[in-house]
Amino acid sequence: MWSMIKNEWRLLIRNRVLLGVSVGFIGLLVLTIYLGNEESKEQSERYEKAKAHMCEQWESIKEMNPHGAAHYGTYVFKPNNSLSSLDEGVNNITGNVLRVEGHVQNEIVHSEASQSQVVSKFGKLKGSLILQYTVPLLLIFLAFQSISGEKQSGRLKLLLMQGTKPSKLIFSKALSVWLLGNLLLLITILAYALFIGSDMNSEIFTRTAFLALSYSLYYFVLTALTIYFSIRWSNSNVSLTTMLGIWIVWTIFLPNIIMSSVENWHKLPSREEFKTAMDDDRSQGLDGHNPEDERSKELEEQTLKKYGVDSVSQLPINFDGIVMQADEEYGNKVWDKHFGDLRKVLTKQKQSYQLGGIINPFISLQNMSMGFAGNDNLHHQEFLVQVEKYRRVFIKRLNDEHAYGGSKSGEWGWKADNAFFKSVEDFVYKPTPFAKVVSNYVMDLVLLLLWVLIACILLILGTKKMRVL
């Protein structure tokens, strides 16, 4: 079998057109990864700069009322991931800046797409665009006449007359084309590793390896299917047309159709509905700025009892800070409830969409590619949760300072000093552990492996169906 694969590669290398196309692909891939990496570096620099600027701004507060500072707030930036140069995933549209302040959980803003002059259906030129859309086309063009071409030229008879087993011939053809896909993949990964240099670590290596594995499996499915149609149809044009049809359906139509269906099955509330529901629930809580509020009064009684005094003015602490924190905590519960529901729907949507991999392995590939690159919605949601956790700690520190920092109730003019503001911890993003990422993509991996099995079965069936005359 090895000599047949070697021969196929020798033919590829000697065919100037195919060689030119392959070299062109390699050049394009390397250039794309280089540009993606440069952009990624630039984004990281911008991120660091903005982060440092916000940090400096915060730490330069000389004196300020802590609750005033909570309203002043700060900004948290979504860190850039070096794997974005391979697959940017949803990052382009989700936004990367979030304002952190008291009383409100803001939405993430400033997506790259919102600032772009050009909107492309396929997104930006990234490694994933070429690896997902263009390389499969190259593999189809290389494989579509593997068997039908041999038959049409009459060489199939000669090959079989030399004692070649049909199964050996079919698998050699499939493997030689698949190996070319893997070579392109390997070059992409090596170029990426070269460009990121010392940023490579075991986490990125593992993610890259899994990403490459998912592409490799998909390329096998696509190649094997093309070879099967090349056996099934004696006319090469028919096998090419069939595969191009499948490519269009898999990569363009089915992902959109399945996503729309999933969104209909598991509906998310509209922005207005969601906001109204949140506001309604939020209005049931304490009004931190209104001392006449009933729940504030209840809290006041509890606090007076706790400190054994009769009036707020006798309290050794600032009661306003306690009210503010209680209000925050109520708001947090409302957020947890509504965003929890939203996340449940998003999880259901994701799981249903993953099932689309049963009829479309491209969906499994796309899911795994952005998941392993750390740029899927799961990572985005994880970032939002971490920011919210940080916001709670951040606001609590400010409210606690307001309550227990030395001021008395009603002293809205009291100010915390610079040392306090400097002591407030900055937001640190903790990347999602890879084991958690993998556990979310087990279904995609299993479905893609099932497709590999189906592809192998088709090749074996093709062996039996292969007609020489």
Partner: protein, 233 residues
């Protein structure tokens, strides 16, 4: 060496071969003459094991061609009308590759000898097959069978499209192979070439072997008259 006995083959109810009986010995060249659709290619495909007869016997070296096709093919050299080799490989590389597929590994000098024995000029050995003429490709095709040490050569319209010189070289080559003990079946339209090369000639019409002739018994003109008479009636 080759035995066909009462072989019948039909396609969708249409008989392509009807009670064909033939025996060809080692060292013998048998010519199958007939118009298009007479059953020449069907006969060759049955011998190659790509088609099974509906009834009757098709054997090479006492082995059933369709049931023992793997074993039978080891001893067959097949030269189609157009020998389609790999155009981006040279003659010697094609020969090496096809020999390896048959499980045979030859040294470069041996490969060169095979090609030269089959009449391919040495300066062409390393040239890409895409630059070869049809005759040159056919010589490589024969060299592939020769390197396989085939006992039986099956040729389907081998002289079609060849210039007179190449055609003559092919005739000499086939005679040489027969003299080394090979049994050869050559299907052709070319009455004069068949008369010149073959020891015996069979005229096929609508799947039936109408006549078997010893080529020594007829001149080329007599064979042509005989053939045309059969075709007209």
């Amino acid at each position: 060496m080759i035995k066909i006995e009462n072989a019948v083959k039909s396609f969708k109810g249409q008989k392509a071969i009807e009670n064909l009986t033939l025996e060809i010995s080692q060292g013998e060249i048998f010519g199958l003459l007939g118009a298009n659709g007479a059953g020449k290619s069907t006969t060759i495909n049955m011998l190659l094991g790509f088609l099974s007869p509906d009834s009757g016997v098709v054997q090479i070296d006492h082995k059933n061609c369709s049931k023992d096709s793997k074993e039978v093919r080891k001893h067959i050299g097949y030269i189609p009308e157009n020998v389609n080799l790999y155009p981006y490989l040279s003659g010697i590389e094609n020969l090496d590759y096809f020999s390896r597929l048959a499980g045979l590994k030859y040294a470069k000098s041996e490969l060169k000898d095979f090609l030269s024995s089959c009449g391919l000029q040495e300066e062409a050995h390393k040239k890409k097959v895409s630059t070869y003429s049809k005759g040159m490709r056919q010589k490589v095709g024969i060299a592939i069978a020769y390197a396989k040490k085939a006992k039986v050569y099956l040729l389907d319209e081998p002289a079609s499209g060849l210039d007179p010189m190449a055609s003559n070289e092919l005739s000499q080559l086939l005679k040489k192979l027969a003299s080394e003990g090979a049994a050869i079946v050559m299907a052709s339209h070319d009455i004069f070439r068949v008369r010149e090369v073959c020891h015996r000639i069979g005229i096929l019409k609508q799947g039936k072997l109408l006549k078997e002739i010893n080529s020594e018994d007829v001149s080329a003109n007599e064979l042509e008259t005989l053939y045309l008479d059969f075709m007209k009636n």
